[in-house]
């Protein structure tokens, strides 16, 4: 249990640090690489939660396929370096204020209301361990068959939409 906790704390630090690094780095390639690291640490979270399949999916799909695509696009567009942006004068105080609220809220939840966390009911059954991949498939294609199919429609439509928005019709000016 304590090993889990220590691992979690270290990973949480890594995850938060890489997320912050992604936001703050001025070079888009660095941002993308930080994001890869962030995805990887989240994949280990899934491992800790006993969901190796989702961890692997996270690595292959997010850290692998999608981020490679991201990097390609960034490099092809030559958009590595962000132009200096004008900072809005009220933005910084507002951000500090909101961050303080968030910290206060977290502290309140962690310190004063730590007990109700036990109220969180785990799902009735764990379907997502690697040995039970079969059950994951069964859940996906039985109970969640319709959402699964609707996802495919959604992806098709999103693709059509992306083509519509980027492709110029014949005869239109560039």
């Amino acid at each position: 249990m304590t090993v889990d906790l220590i691992l979690f704390l270290i990973l949480a630090l890594v995850a938060v640090a890489t997320a912050a690094g992604m936001l703050f780095s001025r070079n888009a390639v660095y941002s993308a690489l930080f994001l890869v690291l962030n995805f990887a640490s989240i994949a280990v979270f899934y491992l800790l939660l006993g969901a190796p399949f989702i961890a692997m999916a996270q690595i292959t799909v997010y850290a692998g396929a999608i981020m490679v695509l991201f990097l390609f696009v960034i490099m092809l567009l030559g958009a590595e370096q962000l132009a200096p942006i004008k900072v809005l004068p009220w933005q910084r105080p507002l951000a500090i204020g909101l961050a303080a609220v968030l910290v206060a809220e977290t502290a309140y939840l962690l310190i004063l209301r730590a007990k109700p966390a036990a109220d969180i009911i785990p799902p009735a059954e764990t379907v997502n361990t690697l040995g039970e991949l079969q059950r994951l498939g069964m859940a996906l294609f039985n109970q969640y068959l319709l959402p699964f199919e609707v996802t495919s429609i959604l992806l098709l439509v999103a693709m059509v939409g992306a083509i519509v928005l980027t492709k110029r019709e014949k005869g239109e000016r560039e």
Partner: protein, 483 residues
């Protein structure tokens, strides 16, 4: 697959078939015939409407597809409304430049309708979230469809940013809901919430998070900021679809979520006070800001925000009559507002302007169009004998019956505010003249699709306002599924 299971998703399956048919057929048509895609969509949607009414009617409420879909009258009724609204919108789209001759635009319309249908019948958080995204993503694209028009691009982008943000917040609410109850099924959540040890503050927080996403869809204040800009820039028929079907879909989700999952029994918190406050804010702000608008699409946007407030009165009433009045209001509102946006589309196509002052002399330029506008705007204002009047009466009656007299009074005061700006527009249409020009030499021709749609919608508004009993009993049958 047994027949009930299939019947439950019959309209969705047919919509998908129609969409794919359009995608396949359209490239084979010559450039000049592409407008026919609109007729194909319209005809197809009518056929779907008829087939669903004949073969897809629900019996006793049942849960199908592992509990992800609820097959009942409430969902069915909304589905038919969405398909009807999509059919009318496809007619309005046909003669819009750079939109009506593209098969993709109709495919996106159909996909969005499919998403709405699923929203109305989803009874599982996973399904619900997917349905909301399936509705929204095509609408983002449709709003920004006219790529070389900056306003349209801005409209689509604003809608996308707001939509993505609110849907993230809502998803956070869903995940907490799952965390506290251990299930994603709305009906099981209801049971879990009733017997759970979740504190009131936490529960209200979860409800608030979920409400952000739905509030965005139905443009409740303070989640309404996108509406005026999006409606103004989006192609007019798309704006009409956004303000009617998309909003009604939001309400379909709202009533199912709040009456089933967050029902006010046992330990579930009382959310009506908060929603009553939101309804008041929404109505008042929508109406007050609408008064100062000079662009007709922005005026209609703020008016549609105000109407979301009126519908909320029915939700807050939390009774059978309340839901009945919500459904009835949405029927009348969909017909009326589709007509209003259709008229704006016709006018801006010819006149190239959405300014209210440019509507001067419309009654002489095109008496029939002005007549349709009279019907639509008087119905929006809530004047008898049009649909909008009866709808408002039912909503206010529901509030009074649930001891919310103050809310009904707020609603009535707001309707009076509304009458002012609707009549101001009609004054420009009927009493003002075009400066120094003979109106007769600037006619506004109505193409056939516009003519058909406007006649159907105007007659519908009149029909609902006079023969409202069958519609009311149908709404009642739908509402009964929640109690």
């Amino acid at each position: 697959m047994n027949p009930t299971t299939f019947a439950a998703i019959l309209p969705e399956v047919l919509l998908l078939v129609l969409g794919i048919l359009i995608l396949v057929v359209e490239p084979f048509w010559k450039e000049k015939d592409r407008r026919n895609t609109g007729w194909l969509t319209f005809g197809g949607l009518l056929a779907i409407l008829v087939v669903s009414l004949l073969a897809g009617r629900p019996g006793e409420p049942t849960s199908v597809f592992g509990g992800t879909i609820r097959f009942d009258w409430l969902g069915f009724f909304f589905k038919m409304l969405f398909i009807f609204a999509a059919a009318m919108t496809s007619l309005f789209m046909m003669d819009v430049e750079k939109l009506g001759r593209r098969g993709e635009s109709y495919l996106l319309l159909l996909a969005s309708t499919l998403g709405m249908n699923l929203m109305a019948s989803a009874s599982d958080l996973v399904m619900l979230y997917l349905a909301i995204e399936t509705t929204s993503i095509p609408l983002y694209v449709l709003s920004g469809f006219i790529v070389d028009d900056e306003k349209s691009t801005e409209s689509g982008f604003k809608y996308l940013l707001f939509g993505a943000m609110t849907s993230a917040v809502m998803l956070y609410g869903f995940s907490l809901l799952f965390g506290f109850t251990g299930t994603t099924n709305l009906y099981e959540i209801a049971a879990a919430v009733a017997g759970a040890q979740v504190s009131t503050v936490t529960a209200l927080g979860v409800i608030a998070l979920v409400l952000v996403g739905i509030g965005f869809k139905v443009s409740l204040v303070p989640f309404h900021f996108w509406a005026p800009d999006t409606y103004e820039g989006a192609p007019t028929p798309v704006a009409g679809f956004l303000s009617t079907a998309s909003k009604a879909a939001g309400f379909a989700v709202l009533v199912r979520l709040f009456f089933i999952a967050f029902a006010k029994n046992g330990l579930a918190p009382d959310w009506t006070t908060g929603l009553a406050a939101l309804a008041t804010l929404t109505m008042t702000l929508g109406n007050l800001v609408a008064m100062t608008q000079t662009n007709i699409k922005r005026l209609l946007a703020y008016s549609s925000i105000a109407h979301a407030g009126y519908v909320m009165i029915g939700v807050v009433a939390f009774s059978n009559l309340g839901v009945t009045s919500v459904v009835f209001y949405l029927i009348a509102y969909i017909l009326t507002n589709l007509a209003a946006f259709g008229i704006v589309a016709v006018f801006s196509r010819v006149a190239g302007s959405d300014k209210i002052s440019d509507y001067a002399g419309l009654s002489r330029r095109s008496p029939w169009l002005a007549m349709a506008m009279l019907v639509a705007f008087l119905s929006l204002a809530g004047m008898p004998p049009f649909g909008g009047f009866v709808a408002k009466v039912f909503v206010f009656a529901a509030a009074v019956k649930s001891d919310l007299v103050w809310l009904a009074v707020v609603g009535v005061i707001n309707s009076i505010l509304g009458v002012y700006y609707y009549l101001t527009v009609l004054k420009v249409v009927y009493l003002y003249r075009m400066e120094g020009e003979a109106e007769e030499s600037h006619p506004i021709p109505l193409t056939r699709p516009y003519g058909i749609a406007l006649v159907v919608l105007s007659l519908g508004v009149l029909l609902i306002g006079t023969l409202f009993a069958p519609w009311f009993s149908a709404s009642g049958a739908a509402a009964l599924n929640l109690f």
